[in-house]
């Protein structure tokens, strides 16, 4: 969207804003590089790479949740398409990793177009439930199409995964690749949010009828958002493969989507980096505390309840509120 805050503000301030954004990108790149090449524990670095992949999935969910205001319980369908796409392409067809991923991305968009045309007529819980149902169909298909998907055991034992000269089996390279892709995705989504399409999504989320009355093609915006979210999820699924080294029908489990949703809610849905913050918390906390998976769910459920009660905008909102309290900022200052 055109930055409305810039209306009536001098050019100097506008370029200041761009400069600040450029410097945040530079900082992020430095952090990625430093992290990738100073941390020596391969497990931590690989986990960080996987976190970046999963953050992409959270971003995909947030295009729908924070973008057009639906809860996409079926989003792991596209995650699975990406994971199986990469696995089948490499393992069964002998294609290079990047070609397999590319095909999977195209497939996910086509699939989203078909599913979207049908399911996006529904809103609210109806949309969520139907999209969840479709992942059940995908899971049954993946379990039974043994020739293609390897059945319940899934696909594993891939050749070394590489993109050109980049060996994804090397933890540091894996992290650098996923982190860079994540950074590019964030930049794209920030620009998208500020574009007319971003404004249209926001207006549709807040008030569909009013949006229609100002000329927004509501059905088209919802479909476009859905089709846009699919390749992000598929990319996440594909980039998770070098970490998991196996793809089973479990990728279509709703638990997968719920993990992504929790990340979005943790970090905050109204901000592009919210889901990324959430993804980091979601993988770091259990790791640092050495939590049992079952206890993990308990801990996160409690955290989510607390966040929904005290900071519905997620951790990011909490951070801003704290900064304002201790930095002596008022609402009025922030809006300037």
């Amino acid at each position: 969207m055109i930055d409305s805050k810039q209306v009536g503000v001098s050019d100097r301030k506008m370029s200041g804003r761009t400069a600040r954004e450029a410097s945040s990108v530079a900082c992020a790149l430095i952090v990625i590089a430093v992290f990738a090449y100073t941390f020596s524990d391969p497990f931590v670095v690989t986990l960080a790479g996987y976190t970046c992949a999963f953050a992409l999935f959270a971003l995909s969910i947030n295009i729908i949740l924070g973008g057009v205001g639906e809860v996409p319980l079926g989003q792991c369908l596209f995650f699975g398409v990406g994971a199986y796409g990469a696995a089948i392409g490499m393992g069964k067809l002998g294609l290079p990793f990047q070609v397999s991923v590319f095909i999977a991305l195209i497939l996910s968009v086509v699939l989203a177009a078909i599913i979207g045309v049908i399911t996006l007529r529904l809103t609210g819980a109806y949309f969520s439930i139907v999209s969840w149902g479709l992942t059940g169909v995908a899971m049954v298909a993946a379990t039974n199409l043994e020739e293609v998907t390897g059945g319940p055991l899934g696909l594993f034992g891939f050749p070394p995964i590489e993109i050109g000269p980049l060996q994804l089996s090397d933890p540091q390279t894996y992290f650098a690749v996923t982190a860079t892709i994540l950074l590019l995705a964030i930049l794209f989504l920030v620009a998208l949010r500020r574009s007319p399409f971003g404004a249209a999504m926001d207006s549709v989320r807040q008030n569909r009828h009013l949006a229609r009355s100002v000329g927004v093609d509501v059905a088209r915006v919802r479909l476009k958002a859905f089709m846009l979210s699919a390749p992000f999820a598929a990319l996440a699924g594909a980039l998770a493969v070098p970490y998991t080294q196996i793809v089973t029908p479990e990728v279509f489990s709703v638990a997968n989507t719920v993990d992504g949703l929790l990340m979005v809610l943790l970090g905050g849905a109204q901000l592009v980096v919210g889901p990324v913050i959430g993804a980091a918390m979601f993988t770091l906390i259990p790791q640092a505390m050495n939590l049992d998976p079952n206890i993990r769910i308990l801990v996160f459920s409690s955290i989510i309840i607390l966040i929904m009660m005290f900071a519905p905008g997620g951790l990011h909102q909490l951070g801003v509120a704290l900064r304002d309290r201790f930095g002596g900022k008022t609402d009025d200052d922030r809006s300037r």
Binding site: I2, K5, Q6, S195, S213, S335
Partner: protein
């Protein structure tokens, strides 16, 4: 009933009938609204005013009958297309984008006039610069008109009700529409807010055709050149507001049905 037609009415409806199952909400309403006119639609609760309103701006499809806006038949045209052809409307309840600032609300109202895409936004294309310039100019004009110049960065949801209604008109004005439909704009306003609102409509009226569905007779009397009375889904009379209000059938049907007015 048909009113003497001029060269090309801005909004014209012929024999509108709308049935919901066995209930006939509207039964044979016709009207012609001339370009530049402020036209009122009044009637007691449940008379079919809102149904007629939704049909005229293309949200609801009539059972039979035809509607022309600026001479073009709107049957089968999706609502967002009608909106893009210079027709804007406000809503009775869901008036603004509550989570966004006043300025962002105006930005959303400008949707149809933007030509730049995501890439244009990233690389700061000429189209983007042009769009931004046009938006800023129009937003300043509209902010002054609706008197929200000092509130531009406040969230729409926290504004007082009457102020939200002015913002709703502002959103509609962003596309500089030729025809505006206002759905009970003064509903729930206090006396002061209503007076401000009437002044606002007068200020934006030149060069536009405005249709108002309204319950508040004072608003109709002060704004409208002509008003149509709908009672039980049927048109009763179209005339200047003071004539309409003294029409015997209106007095019995309308005033008898609603003690407030």
């Amino acid at each position: 009933m048909t009113i003497a037609a001029a060269e090309r009415p801005a909004v014209s409806a012929r024999d509108i009938v709308k049935r919901y199952g066995g209930v006939t909400a509207l039964n044979g309403v016709s009207l012609d609204v001339q370009e530049g006119e402020i036209f009122g639609i009044i009637g007691p609760n449940g008379a079919g005013k809102s149904t007629l309103f939704d049909i005229l701006c293309g949200i609801t499809v009539p059972t039979t009958g035809s509607i022309r806006i600026m001479g073009n038949e709107i049957a089968g045209v999706p609502p967002h297309h009608i909106a893009r052809s210079g027709v804007a409307r406000t809503f009775q309840r869901t008036a603004v984008f509550a989570e966004s600032t006043v300025l962002e609300n105006l930005l959303f109202g400008r949707h149809t006039s933007f030509h730049h895409g995501v890439l244009g936004r990233i690389f700061g294309s000429k189209t983007f610069a042009g769009d931004q310039q046009a938006f800023q100019t129009r937003a300043e004009e509209v902010l002054t008109l609706i008197g929200l110049d000092g509130e531009r960065h406040r969230k729409a949801g926290v504004l007082a009700y009457g102020v939200q209604r002015r913002l709703a008109v502002g959103i509609a004005l962003m596309s500089d529409p030729k025809i505006m439909f206002l759905d009970e704009p003064a509903a729930g306003m206090n006396g002061r807010e209503t007076a401000d609102f009437i002044a606002l409509i007068r200020a934006i009226a030149p060069g536009r055709t405005i249709l108002i569905v309204e319950h508040d007779m004072a608003v109709i009397r002060q704004l409208c050149g002509r008003a149509l009375v709908v009672v039980d889904g049927k048109p009763v009379v179209v005339d200047a507001p003071h004539h309409v209000l003294s029409h015997p059938e209106v007095v019995t049907a309308y005033l008898g049905a609603d003690d407030d007015e």
